[in-house]
C-alpha cells in the first residue's frame, strides 16, 4: 500500500492539484476561467458516463447493478446521521451548520470518483462500468437526511417542491446518466468514434481540471480556514475513512469485484462540493457556506486525492481478499 501511495502522490494528477493549491496559497493570480473549468467538467462527466455505459454494454449488468445502487443510496441516507453525531460531539458547530456539513459527506464528489477510477485502473483492476450510475444515485439522498436533521432544530424552512426537481435534474446528474445511456446504447462501436476525444486525452484533461480544483481549494482555505475549529478539521479527516470503510464492506457484501468495491468505498469517502452546496444555499441559507465548503473541498478532497485513494483501494483488496 505504501508503494501505491507514493506512486499516487507523485502522479501528474496529484502534482497538478498541488500546483494549484500552492499557487493559490501563495496568492498568485493564476486562475482558470470559470467557463473553461465548467467546460472541462462537462468533458469529464461525459467521458466517464460514456465509458461506463460502454462497459455495461460489453459486460451486461445482471442483478448487481440494482444491488449496488441500493447499497449506495442507503449509504447516502445513513452517513449524514453518523457525520452529524460526530460533528456535534467533536466540534463546537451548531446543529444547522452540522446538518449542512453532514449532507456533504453523505453525498459524493464526482472528481474524486474520476481520479479514483484512474488509480484503480492503473493498479490493474477493472471496476464495473455501472458504478457511474451508482455515483449519480448517491448525490441526492443525503440532502434529505440533512433536511430532516435541520428540521428538528426548527431552523430549516419548508422545502419547496421546486427544490427537489432542481436537485434531481441538476446538470451533473443529468449529464452523467445521459452519457451513460448513450454509451450503453451505442456500445463499443460508438466509443470507437469518440475515443480519440474521450479516452486518450482523458488523464491530461483531468490534470488541468485538478489544477483548477487546487486553485479553488487553496483560495477557500485562505479565506475559510479561520471559521474551523480543530474538531471540525479532525472530523474532515476521519469521516472519509468511516465512509470508505462502509463502502468497502457494503461492496464486498453485495459481491462487487475488487475494483467495484474500491469505487464504492471512494464514493462513501468523498464529500460533495457542487450539488449539495447549491441545495444548502436554497434550503438552509443560514448555514455558513465557508464551513461546509472549506471542510469538503479544502480538507477532505485533498486528503482523499493524495492519501485516501490508496487507502480505499487497500481496503477493497483487504475485504475482497484480492
Amino acid at each position: 500500500m505504501l508503494d501505491l501511495a507514493a506512486a499516487n502522490l507523485l502522479s501528474p494528477i496529484v502534482l497538478s492539484f498541488a500546483l494549484g493549491l500552492i499557487a493559490a496559497l501563495a496568492r498568485s493570480d493564476l486562475s482558470v476561467p470559470e467557463a473553461v473549468a465548467k467546460g472541462l467538467s462537462i468533458y469529464l462527466l461525459f467521458a466517464i458516463g460514456f465509458k461506463g455505459g460502454v462497459a455495461v454494454a460489453e459486460h451486461g449488468v445482471g442483478l448487481s447493478l440494482g444491488l449496488a445502487i441500493g447499497a449506495g443510496v442507503a449509504m447516502s441516507f445513513v452517513l449524514p446521521f453518523i457525520a452529524f453525531g460526530l460533528l456535534r460531539g467533536m466540534s463546537r458547530m451548531g446543529p444547522l451548520d452540522a446538518a449542512a456539513v453532514a449532507a456533504h459527506y453523505g453525498s459524493i464528489s464526482i472528481v474524486t470518483f474520476v481520479a479514483g477510477t484512474s488509480v484503480v485502473e492503473a493498479a490493474g483492476f477493472k471496476p464495473e462500468g455501472f458504478m457511474v450510475a451508482v455515483a449519480a444515485a448517491m448525490e441526492a439522498p443525503a440532502i434529505l437526511s440533512a433536511l430532516w436533521l435541520a428540521a428538528r432544530t426548527g431552523k430549516a424552512g419548508g422545502v419547496e417542491p421546486g427544490l427537489w426537481r432542481e436537485i434531481m435534474l441538476n446538470g451533473s446528474i443529468v449529464l452523467l446518466i445521459g452519457a451513460f445511456a448513450i454509451g450503453w446504447i451505442t456500445g463499443p462501436k460508438g466509443l470507437s468514434e469518440v475515443a480519440p476525444l474521450l479516452v486518450a486525452p482523458f488523464k491530461g484533461v483531468l490534470c488541468l481540471f485538478l489544477l483548477d480544483m487546487g486553485l479553488v481549494a487553496g483560495r477557500g482555505l485562505r479565506g475559510g480556514g479561520k471559521v474551523l475549529d480543530r474538531g471540525a478539521i479532525v472530523f474532515a479527516l476521519v469521516m472519509p475513512l468511516i465512509g470508505g470503510a462502509a463502502g468497502a464492506i457494503l461492496g464486498a457484501g453485495i459481491g462487487l469485484s475488487t475494483g467495484g468495491i474500491a469505487l464504492l468505498a471512494i464514493l462513501g469517502a468523498s464529500g460533495s462540493y457542487i450539488a449539495v452546496p447549491a441545495a444548502m444555499r436554497v434550503a438552509m441559507p443560514e448555514a455558513n457556506p465557508s464551513i461546509y465548503l472549506t471542510l469538503s473541498l479544502g480538507v477532505t478532497f485533498p486528503f482523499n486525492l493524495t492519501i485516501g485513494l490508496p487507502i480505499y483501494l487497500w481496503m477493497a483488496q483487504t475485504v475482497s481478499g484480492g
Binding site: 486562475s31 421546486g162 479565506g223 457542487i274 447549491a278 444555499r281 441559507p285
Partner: protein, 103 residues
Amino acid sequence: MLTHKAKRVEITIEAVMEGRLTAALTKAGVTGWTVLPVLGGSGRSGAWSREGQVSRAGGMVQVVCLIRPERLDGLLTAAFAVVERHIGVVSVTDCDVLRAERF
C-alpha cells in the same frame, strides 16, 4: 425628450435564488427586469470572487428593475420575501425613463 418618473430597483442576490426572485416578481405583476453578472463582492459574510467558486452555489447576480413609482411597494414586498433569509442587498433610486408605455 419626454421622460417619465420611475424607480430603479437593484437587487444583488445569490445566483441560485435568481429563478425564485424572478418568479416572485412575475407573480407580483412585475414583467420587466435585466440580470447582470457579478464578479465578486464583499459584505457581512466576507469577501468572495467568481474565481473562488466551484459551483453554481457560489456566485451572485444583480437584478435591475425599472418600474412605475406606484408599483414600487408591491415589488419590494415580493422581493423581500425571497431575499429575507438570504445574503444580498436591495437599493432603490429615482430615475426618468423614455418610452413609459413599456413599464
